[in-house]
């Protein structure tokens, strides 16, 4: 009994200590895939010895739900947020949850890529285009191709209810004349499905369960490099883009480390890490990773961030109305 008790006590103490230790380190909430999140954190830790980063990965909307629940409970765990889109960041900024920090590294960026008050900084560009399985009959070239009869029942896309990039994507396409919500209705009538995040789309298309999908660029290009039977297309009409901004929470416990983290991500070194993982860098003068066309040939569709913030509720409702998802 005694050994048993002491074993229990030891385990409990060990648990307590580990919880205590985790309060000291930097906590990152991110929507990057696990491997990328780990690689980012590893590179940062290597460049800043002594700072330990604890990270959590979930889809942007789930991360936000977790964060908002924590804020409501008065105990936000995260110090730094690295999530898909500026729209969500803008909403947090308007809610007064973000710390204004003017990073010296911002000089290398277009003014459009960071918040003027320093609440958040874009770290990379992630476009959403079309992915198709190499054994598919049709080679899609534009968004409209997905609504054609050849693609009937073979199209899938991430749900805006799970993915931040998917929400921006839907809002972007919905605002384009000639596409709009009617385009989504046509897709739904053509048997397209929308559920889960980008990971699910990649899986469905690469495994051949679906032939075509809307997907973020880096996933498709990276997976192709690993040997998966997929091809990525930048559609003729243009792609939507998110910029994966990073921001520091006002309630951050470890502000210094958080600032270092932001600086690192948008520094030249940090941008090279992103390129290595297969992302289009946000910083000027950093080359694109392999597998991408030249930067100037990628046509990015415009999105009005302020309007997007306002309309996102309605867009979510319209989208779930069309696809009947939760």
């Amino acid at each position: 009994m005694k050994t048993l008790l002491s074993a229990v006590a030891a385990t409990l103490v060990a648990g307590l200590l580990s919880t205590a230790a985790h309060a000291e380190s930097l906590v990152l909430y991110t929507s990057q895939p696990n491997e990328d999140a780990q690689a980012t954190v590893d590179a940062f830790e290597a460049a800043n010895p002594g700072v330990e980063v604890e990270w959590v990965r979930e889809g942007t909307t789930k991360i936000m739900a977790k964060l908002m629940a924590e804020i409501e409970a008065g105990n936000p765990v995260a110090d730094v947020l690295l999530i898909a889109d500026t729209v969500t960041m803008q909403r947090l900024k308007e809610g007064g949850h973000l710390l204004a920090y003017k990073s010296p590294e911002a000089a290398g960026y277009d003014a459009a890529l960071y918040d003027a008050d320093g609440a958040y900084y874009s770290t990379k560009m992630i476009t959403t285009g079309i992915v198709y399985n190499t054994s598919a009959a049709m080679k899609p070239e534009g968004w409209q191709d997905l609504a054609k009869p050849e693609a009937k029942g073979l199209v899938t896309m991430p749900s805006p209810l799970t993915s931040g990039a998917a929400l921006i994507h839907a809002e972007t396409l919905a605002a384009i004349p000639g596409l709009g919500w009617d385009y989504y209705k046509a897709l739904a009538e053509n048997g397209a499905t929308a559920a889960g995040g980008n990971g699910g789309v990649l899986k469905a298309v690469a495994t051949g369960e679906k032939a075509y999908g809307m997907l973020v660029d880096f996933m498709a290009i990276r997976e192709k490099a690993k040997g998966a039977p997929v091809e990525f297309v930048f559609p003729a009409e243009g792609v939507s883009a998110v910029t994966e901004p990073v921001g520091i929470l006002k309630t951050a416990r470890n502000v210094d480390a958080a600032k270092k983290f932001v600086d690192f991500l948008i520094s030249e070194e940090g941008q090279k890490v992103a390129v290595k993982m297969g992302y289009i860098p946000a910083r000027n003068g950093v080359a694109l990773p392999e597998g991408y066309p030249a930067r100037e040939t990628i046509k990015v569709l415009p999105v009005d961030a302020a309007a997007a913030v306002k309309n996102s509720e309605a867009a979510l409702k319209t989208f779930s109305g069309i696809f009947g998802t939760n």
Partner: protein
Amino acid sequence: MTRADEIARSRGAPVESDAEGGSGFPEPPRRLPSGARRFGRLRSFFRGFFFGGGEAAEGRRPRTTFGKLPGALTRTLSGVELPPMPHVREAGFPKARPPRCSREGRRFGFRPRKPRVPGGEPAWLLPFVLCAVLLLSVLPLARLAGAGVNGLVDGEAARLIFAPATLAALRNTLLTATGGMVVSLILGSLFAFALALTDIRGKLILSFAFMLPMMIPPQVTALAWVEMSGPASPLLKTLGLAPPLGSPQPLYSLSGIALLLGVQHAPLVFLALKAGLAASPRDGIEAARLAGAGPLRVFRDIVLPLGAPGLIAGGAIAFVSGVGNFGIPAILGIPAGIETLPTLIFSRLASFGAATFGEIALISTLIAAISAAGLIVQQRALQGRDYRLIGHSGARAAFSLGRFRVAVEALLWAVLVLVLAAPLLALVASSLVPAYGVPLNFDTMSLDAYGEILFRQSITLTALKNSLFLASAAALGLLAVTVPAAYLLARRKGALAGLVAILIEIPYALPGIVLAVAFILTFAAPLPVVGVSLYGTIWIILAAYFSSFLAVSLKPVVSAMLQMDPALEEAARLAGAGFFRRMRDVLLPLVAPAAGASVILVFLIAANELTVSALLWSAGTQTLGVAIFNLDDSGSSDLAAALSVLVVLLVIALMTALELLAKHLPEGVLPWRN
């Protein structure tokens, strides 16, 4: 013989024999004042949840553990003349009678009189156990019920319950759980009849393998099956059998979910049915055969009626487990946009956070209500039936299959290959390929996924550390509650003990998602007095595990306590040993193997847990179950597969450890053994 027994006997009442004290929880008394009878019924309700209930043990004599006593104590007991005490006058060693009341005695409210010998049951024991049970069971469930009632009073309930999403989820839940139940019944009864009644070979290994799906986490089962079927299955691609492009993954459907629920819960039916069949009268079957009845007739007239209650009970448990399952509908349903009630709760909480506490409380009470309905069916099935039959059981197979034996064996093995070996092979295959849609061959094969999760992903290590911490803290920590509780339940009869037993079992019987919601509601706000919030820390998961696995932990220990001859402890008490001394020198050494089994069982289940932690995890408190789920969700299915393979290996290792412990354990503790 106790004084109450003497009084009862003098009134002409029969004295209960020792033989019925089986290995389950204390038998519900058959005739009691109405309040106590109700407890007895409720208790048998939830009892089935212990891997199919304790019926198997009926009719067996408690094993005497006298010979295993530590040497010193044995010498004392055998060599020393004890002073004559009235209440042990007729007892003698080692054949003693538990201090019990007769039925008549109970009816008149008699309790076994406590002998006035130093240190009987210590005064703190009952309050301690009651407090633990209140904290772990009553408080969270009352909080959930309160939130549910509040929702109803608000008038929000009707709106929410009749919202299309909820109705669709309700319909999907009922459809998949019913379909799963049917599959479970088919698979479970096939194995139960074959293993309990026929002379097939390799019963232990068949039974062990058939129990595995229940021990493997549901989300791993789901992943494995997805990797096995579907157009990109590395296994099918390698074999050249992959379906053409655009073929839907057949498992991403209601029937896919139902099929996997069926496979996952078939062992529950198997156990419930086998327990009934194990007690079937060989003599009766033989007599019928001698009288000229054919095998089918014997099966129809003798075996089936005996098996029916077990079949109904097993089906009800499979249904209830299907209603509460989260891992399978999460992996198979969410990509296809099919929600069940548990995944609806999960996605509501995940996407909308604390704002939906009221809603999810209502949906969980809905799940709890459906579960309760299933449990009532189970209880009805068992009510009023007495399994104890005259005759030898387990001695010989009732049916010898003759030349069909090989065919039946082949069928059973084929089923196991299909439901167990093939999916696991597919899982291994997909952990070895670098990307989706790549066939597995010597060029593409790599261990990169294992390298990534083991050496590069800090998340795996965090998850592993958390799961190991949670599982060992729950497994060992629970002993501090279960040993005193088991002592109490084994020594005390009556309404209070019955109530404690029920309260311990309810959280285990309820679906994990309901329990998780109950704990969120209880601990979301900062604790009173200390002002610390448990929500978002690892401690809320641990608390929920304590509640959920208390019953799992208790079962082996209570079995051991019941099988122990009370004379041993009485002797020690007469010799002047206090409670702790008796615990240390007499009880603990004897229950140690059972406690070991309890630790491993809880560890096994807790290490693989997903449902509770999926709702309660936060930064740095991911569990293995959550990590697998999350890796799959982010599109890294090779990593998810690799981690799953490691988890399955862990499960098999722990089950083997239990199997090796088996001969030191009380009967009925290991679900896959007879």
